[in-house]
């Protein structure tokens, strides 16, 4: 039944539209407003549902370039997921260990993982970049970044 990619995407979008509409119907209503809080979301929910149906029957064919873009080798996909996992860990430890430490570690290990082999340069950048940013933000711009375990 679902022959094209557009048809598969349209099903996902239709489910999102239905979910959004269900949430919209749960919004409380107030009698004395000209336009209640649920009016615009309701219009948007129906609009997305209609557009999802249109996409289902759309005859737009993909270009070769678009098809090629989706052709990602499994190894690269693994690398991509790993980098996102690095970012996730970075966010988790940012406030705990502090900006300078976590950012330094992230830059060094992420660059190394992505294939950068000039370790000395990598180390220098990993130390200087977070320090420079930290000083710029906290001292010059008066914007506090997490201090963490460092004493300054």
């Amino acid at each position: 039944m679902l022959k094209t990619l557009n048809q598969r995407i349209s099903i996902v979008l239709f489910i999102i539209a239905v979910g959004y509409l269900v949430l919209t119907f749960q919004l409380p209503s107030y009698g004395y407003t000209s336009v209640d809080a649920d009016v615009i979301p309701m219009v948007l929910g129906w609009l997305l549902a209609v557009l999802a149906v249109c996409l289902f029957f759309s005859k737009d064919s993909e270009t070769e370039e678009q098809k090629a873009r989706r052709d990602i080798p499994k190894k690269d996909l693994g690398v991509l997921i790993a980098v996102f996992a690095f970012i996730f860990v970075y966010i988790m430890f940012l406030e705990l260990l502090g900006f300078v430490v976590v950012t330094g570690l992230f830059i060094f290990f992420c660059s190394w993982f992505l294939g950068y082999r000039k370790h000395i340069t990598n180390l220098i950048v990993s130390i200087l970049f977070p320090l420079l940013m930290y000083i710029t933000f906290t001292e010059l711009l008066k914007i506090n970044l997490p201090q963490g375990i460092l004493p300054f």
């Binding site: 990619l5 948007l44 690269d76 991509l80 980098v83 966010i91 711009l141």
Partner: protein
Amino acid sequence: MGSIEGLLTGFQTAFSIEGILFVMIGVLVGTFIGMLPGLGPITAIAVMIPITFGMDPTTALIMMAGVYYGAVFGGSTSSILLNAPGISGTVASSFDGYPMAQQGKAGKALAIAAIASFTGGTVSVVLLMLLAPALSSVAIAFGPPAYFALMFMGLTAISSLSEGSTIKALISAVVGFMVATIGIDGQTGTQRFTFGNVNLLEGLDFLVIALGLFALAEVCTLIINRKDRSIQNAHKLGSLRLTKKDFKEMSGPVTRQSFLGFILGVLPGAGATIASFISYISEKRIAKKPEEFGKGSVKGLAAPEASNNAATSGAFVPLLSLGIPGSGTTAVMLGAFIVLGVQPGPLLMTDRPEIFWGIIASMYIGNVFLLILNLPLIPYFAKILTVPRPLLISLVIMFSMIGVYAISFNTFDLYMLLLFGVIGFLMRLFAFPAPPLILAFILGGMMEQSFRQSLTISNGSLMVFVTEPIALSLLIIALLTFVVPLIRQLRKQKG
């Protein structure tokens, strides 16, 4: 005091050694802060307020104005080189600026941006000088129905923002509008789609979405293509020199969009973001080869760059002559005025002409400084492209993270950034354009607000959009932007 006489007084103030020095400091600091993703003109001005304590108000405000347009100028650099728009006003610059940098023409892209910004800025300062008092009355004539119509007009042009399927562009726009509905509803106080999470009460910040959809999605593409030798020319700066053909190509868009940007800047609530998007869309509509847009077109870069800088000066019209801030940035500027003991408004021009005209005169000088300072710095800015790809990927991720964290000091927004990075990448894979999503997100909240304000004024009657002439004219234009291409298409099919 007439305009010419006033301007001469202003030039006297701006051309003093102190004036020149502080304009220079202002534009330099502004450019630097604007280049950092997440730190736009609002932060730049807010940071400068404590520094101006005790300074002469005229000098301080001249410096502030320099910081403002310097930051808008600086924002383009990260948009063009990294596809990481730091402020919403420079998103449209990345559509063609970044592809140019990828094609090894980063130098040319930055030079076009510098020249277009300079022209946009200068044209609008001349207009500001000539039209400030008259335009302020036009600005207040724009009620909620007219604003709604203006934003509706911006949204109807969405299909021309992207290549490929119109349905997919419309889906992107609807999703963007849906994201804009997250948070507390301004009129009824209802929590919408927050799932009981306090972090979502204020909705999502523009930067979370822009950096996710553009910068992090770009990072994903860079990771996949990190070993691809065929795109090594992305490391090249290329020549800074613009050919006669380039100048010829950009002259039309720059002239047109400088005027349009200024007019849109004057309208409170519109500002540099809407100005840059509308400029991009309108240039694409009238271009002989619209298919070149989004692939490194000179016109596609010059138009939003001229427009966003022109809008920046335009935003000073309601601020200086009415005391009404039209945007977040001018609201902070208003705060700076008040801190310094200056009340902007109708009396400013007569009571404190040295401040009113001093700021305007300093803008002429500031624009020249921006050009003189930034053109020679282009090779240094573009060094960023020579950074080895694995290191560049890590640094772009970090830039995005710092930008988002510095706004909210909340790691929740960083998780959201990650989520929008994934969404942005999936959109790329399945050919859903990101620009309509970001445009609808930016316009969505404002559009809903003006729609509801209009209906509150009219006791729920939709006729308010037809009876107000400005709103009606804009709605007709919006309708035409939909219908005319349709008729053309039908004619082509018949032919």
